[in-house]
């Protein structure tokens, strides 16, 4: 029997008092595509970071091709043929594709420079900044391959891709496996695992609870493994008891021919977009990164100036930004300070130039309770909260302003299914209360499930998807292709 390409046995990892992994096992055979499935917070990324040398396990064994090894750093991992592609890309924007590849091979193999086979339609001279997100990801994979990886660890690779790009990725991954390599697909999406993998392992709360061939697994068994026994939470996709409020007469968000310059000079920015959102509606915005959705949201929030067009947005307005740790919160400041930050000058604790911190702290404590944020108290630095709790705080804080317009960018990022369901509930509640909600999510399923209407952004322009459009149609619009004619 051929030894496993990669095997992790009984891995334990603690971060302070948090037990990220409690004796997790994982076996990867050569030539297979293996999905590592689990909710956010289950420990999937942590486990793979240990295999890649980014973290050291507190206990357990790591075996490569059957022999025990200790991998102390990513460099060592790469030397042993393990490559990892993270959610944050490591390529250097200002250099070309070619230069990035050469840099990677020089990094790992001093003096040896090989000409890479650059199939896949990537222009070797192109500056990486100009590439699309999917292309940058392809480059990340190529860089891993350039370092002669035999084991590829992909961390949530489809999070940033449009549906057809996901298919392409799964195709490349399959080709790599057929040629003898082994691939780990870290994902929290059931349907991807079922579509692309040969075997699946499910982690829950830091333990391996299921492992087996895909052929023998069903949606139900996998979902149960991921969530554990017990009543399933209301899925994001169930509309439940929502009675859509009749849309208000006047739109609370109105944009006509809006033009906004691109951030950092990259991409189209907003190139003449028109849209309306009425109170009581949840309007979804679907877009591949780099097509202007950021500029649109920031302009609607009044943070970027439009260079042309008309824009009217009702107040109070709240924004839940995409990156909670660098845009939504200031990690070094306390939770109360972060709440004060959002409210600004119009807050119960502000009188003239004076700030009543006790009032702010009391308010924050109440906010933490109401939104079930697990934190030591209003004085705790925001950095001490887990990602999921930070997200709860950011959303709760925005809702506490009783906004008439809510702009949300990936509001369920990093949240497990239950917490995501709560977010969905709150968004529905806010809309039912008469607010206009514009929701951007890179998770197309989430957009389709929550939104009354879907707008698609491509090349800086906004188009409305036909009513009832599914993933296929919206996916095509996201890539700028015209929808297929009905029929």
């Amino acid at each position: 029997m051929t030894p496993a390409a990669l095997e992790l046995r009984g891995i334990v990892k603690r971060f302070g008092s948090v037990h990220a992994l409690r004796g997790a096992d994982f076996i990867l055979a050569p030539g297979e595509v293996h999905a590592l499935l689990g909710e956010n917070g289950a420990g999937k990324s942590t486990l793979m970071h240990i295999a890649y040398g980014l973290l050291e396990a507190d206990a357990g064994e790591l075996l490569l091709d059957g022999s025990p090894v200790r991998i102390g750093s990513p460099r060592e991992a790469r030397r042993r043929g393990i490559g990892m592609v993270h959610q944050h890309f490591t390529s250097i924007g200002r250099l070309s594709v070619e230069e990035n590849l050469r840099l990677r091979t020089m990094q790992d193999d001093a003096g040896r420079c090989r000409t890479m086979r650059l199939g896949e339609g990537l222009d070797p001279r192109a500056m990486v900044e100009t590439l699309s997100v999917a292309e940058k990801q392809r480059l990340e994979i190529l860089m891993a391959l350039a370092a002669e990886a035999r084991v590829l660890l992909l961390d949530e690779p489809t999070a940033v891709l449009a549906p057809s790009e996901v298919e392409e990725l799964l195709g490349s991954v399959r080709a790599f496996a057929v040629a003898g390599g082994a691939v780990v697909l870290i994902t929290h999406k059931l349907h991807e695992a079922l579509a692309g993998a040969d075997r699946v392992t499910v982690l829950r709360r830091g333990e391996t609870v299921y492992s087996g061939p895909i052929a023998g697994a069903t949606r139900e068994t996998l979902a149960e493994a991921m969530l554990g026994a017990g009543p399933p939470p209301a899925a994001v996709s169930s509309s439940g008891l929502r009675i859509p409020a009749s849309p208000s007469q006047r739109p609370l968000i109105l944009a006509k021919g809006l033009e906004v310059l691109p951030l950092e000079g990259r991409g189209p920015g907003v190139a003449g977009a028109s849209l309306e959102v009425h109170g009581g509606e949840i309007v979804g915005l679907a877009a591949v990164g780099g097509n202007g959705h950021r500029e649109l949201l920031l302009a609607l929030a009044g943070l970027l100036r439009a260079v042309a067009g008309r824009l009217e947005v009702a107040r109070p307005l709240a924004l839940v930004p995409e990156d909670r740790s660098s845009e939504g919160l200031i990690p070094a400041l306390s939770l109360a300070e972060n709440v004060v930050l959002e409210f600004g000058g119009r807050a119960p604790w502000v009188r003239g130039i004076w700030l009543d911190w006790r009032l702010a702290q009391g308010f924050t404590a109440e906010l933490l309770r109401e939104h079930a944020v697990d934190a030591a108290g209003p004085d705790a630095p925001a950095a001490t909260l887990s990602g999921g709790n930070q997200q709860k705080l950011v959303l709760g804080r925005a809702l506490a302003r009783k906004p008439r317009v809510l702009l949300a960018e990936n509001p369920t990022r990093g949240l497990d299914i239950r917490a995501s369901a709560v977010v969905a509930e709150r968004l529905r509640a806010v809309a039912a209360g008469g607010a206009a909600v514009l929701l951007y999510s890179s998770d197309l399923d989430e957009v389709l499930a929550l939104a009354d209407r879907v707008l698609v952004m491509h090349g800086g322009r906004v188009r409305e998807a036909p009513p009832g459009a599914g993933r296929e149609v919206v996916g095509r619009l996201m890539l700028g292709e015209e929808g297929r004619p009905a029929g």
Partner: protein
């Protein structure tokens, strides 16, 4: 932690003295007496030397709170001193109640102007103020040289120094000592600063800009650039005021080498005081004490006064290392992994 840093500093001095063949005992005795041994020592030596350190220390802390490093306080101090001297020589007719504020106003303006160019360069071109403010220090020194040998030169024309400023522009002294009104100014500034930092919305906004400029913009809707510019201008103005206070209360005239590096010592004072105005008063007095004691150490024990720099340098090193160690411990987990849990 500050106490530990001080202890280590004193230990380092003791070891240095031993290594050089001096007896630490008498040296430390002299050090203490020079700093705190008598009311006179306390008032006229320690506190007088603390005044510019507190004022400039607060100025640095103000800019630092917003995320800017004003390394040019030395130059802004001198610019303020030049302006103070120029005005101080001309307000003889005015009563002190008008003369002193006039001098201060000139110094505040001069200090702000001296930092205005770095501010503009940072806003417009993103040039790091660390560099621009530092370079302007040299220009200020040269300007002082020029002034005392030219336009501001004393009437007698013998030495490169200005005449003494008018009586009404001089700061009153505490009877029987050399402690001047500037000490009250320093304390008042620190008190106002503390209130500003901890209780006002603008003090909070400044902190937000320094701690997280992107979040300050996106969530706080704060115009970070403008706020930071204001903080830097204020920082320069305050440093200029420090120069005026030194002229008005201590030297009463302008000459070269007016500042024995206050602009830089103040950085250490501010950092050791954790950027908190009240803490800066304490550390300013501490550093003032070391300087005062150093003079006594030299006179009584024959040890070069500069030896006390060992204490200051050690304190700074300890604070920096401790800060770095704390930050390293907190970020043991790579960012990538922290997101996953």
């Amino acid at each position: 932690m500050a106490a530990a840093a001080l202890a280590m500093g004193l230990l380092a001095l003791a070891l240095t003295l031993l290594a050089l063949g001096y007896a630490p005992g008498p040296a430390f005795g002299a050090l203490w007496r020079g700093a705190f041994g008598s009311w006179y020592a306390l008032g006229s030596a320690t506190l007088v030397r603390a005044v510019p350190l507190i004022i400039l220390g607060f100025g640095f802390a103000l800019a630092l709170r917003g995320g800017a490093l004003n390394i040019g306080m030395e130059g802004q101090f001198l610019a303020g001193a030049i302006a103070a001297t120029w005005v101080g020589l001309r307000v003889g007719e005015l009563p002190p109640v008008a003369a002193v504020p006039a001098v201060w106003l000139a110094a505040l303006t001069a200090g702000a102007l001296w930092v205005a160019i770095p501010v503009l360069l940072r806003l417009r071109f993103g040039v790091l103020e660390v560099i621009t403010t530092l370079l302007l220090n040299f220009v200020a020194e040269a300007l002082v040289s020029y002034m005392v040998q030219g336009p501001l030169r004393e009437a007698k024309g013998i030495y490169p120094q200005s005449d003494m400023i008018a009586e009404s522009a001089r700061l009153p002294l505490l009877p029987g000592s050399r402690l001047h009104l500037g000490f009250a100014v320093a304390l008042l500034l620190a008190a106002l600063g503390q209130v500003f930092f901890s209780r006002t919305i603008w003090g909070f906004r400044l902190k937000a800009v320094g701690a997280g400029p992107r979040a300050a913009w996106i969530t706080g809707r704060i115009a970070s650039g403008r706020l930071l510019a204001l903080a830097l201008l204020a920082s320069g103005a305050i440093a200029g005021l420090g120069g005026a206070v030194e002229i008005g209360g201590v030297t009463r005239a302008l000459f070269q080498n007016l500042s024995p590096g206050y602009g830089f010592s103040a950085i250490a004072v501010a950092l050791l005081g954790r950027g908190q105005p009240l803490g800066i008063v304490v550390t300013g007095i501490l550093f003032g004490a070391l300087e005062a004691g150093a003079g006594a150490m030299q006179r009584e024990a024959g040890i070069p006064a500069v030896a006390v720099s060992v204490v200051q340098a050690t304190i700074i090193l300890v604070v920096l290392v401790a800060d770095a160690a704390v930050r390293r411990r907190e970020s043991r987990t790579p960012v990538v992994a922290a997101e996953a849990v």
